[in-house]
Amino acid sequence: MDLPVSLSTGTGYWNPLAWLLATVIAAVIVYLIWQRGESGYKKGTAQTAPFISGNPEPGKEMVHVRASNLYWGYLDALKGYYERIVPAHTGVVNDYVLWYLGVTALLMVVVVVFI
């Protein structure tokens, strides 16, 4: 089986060896840049703490962006919907069964009366 084949598409080509070579070259360049960096920081001291213009580092709970924050605009836009739906989700199975029975009864009425 001829593994290192070149796949020509008309607009370019794909060769796994070329990609491997490019990856190795990129990795070497990254390593050389990283190697020239400052390595004298003392771990566990202020030298490795983030620089916030001299202000103390706030606790993680103060700066952590919760996943729900990403949906803030979505939740705000559908606020009218969520304000009704969220309280209905009580977590009590009896409530869910009542909703199920109620909706089923309503559908039955619709089906029997109108269809």
């Binding site: 400052e38 390595s39 004298g40 003392k42 620089f51 001299g54 202000n55 103390p56």
Partner: protein, 144 residues
Amino acid sequence: MKLTPSFNRSLWAFHFNSGSCNGCEIEIVAAITPRYDPERFGIKLVGSPRHADVMVVTGPVVKKMKDRLIRVYNQIPDPKLVMCVGTCGISGGVFYDSYNLEGPVDEVIPVDVYVPGCPPRPEAIIHGVVAAWAKLERLEGGSA
């Protein structure tokens, strides 16, 4: 003490205003203009203490800035030098008996180079940087 090879090529400074009137800042900015162009020797201001070799402090240390000055000083990797630019940082200057002063810079953190003046001229600031560089080279040789 062994310095990193980067000291052989450049000296990066981080500026900290601990309560200055901005006069020294104006002269520091003047010192890095093309008229003097210290960057051709690798001397430049950096935006983070974690990149700095020298801390350039201006102004007397006011109470609000003491903790921040110590914190930023501790964030600079070793070996590091502190350069005090201006009379206020050296002695308190005209604010020496002010109620909201913690004191001169060297009462809060150790200072290696003093550049007097109100404000000092750019030539004096550059001379101070050269003195700091010389001290770093002595540190490199282990004789400081």
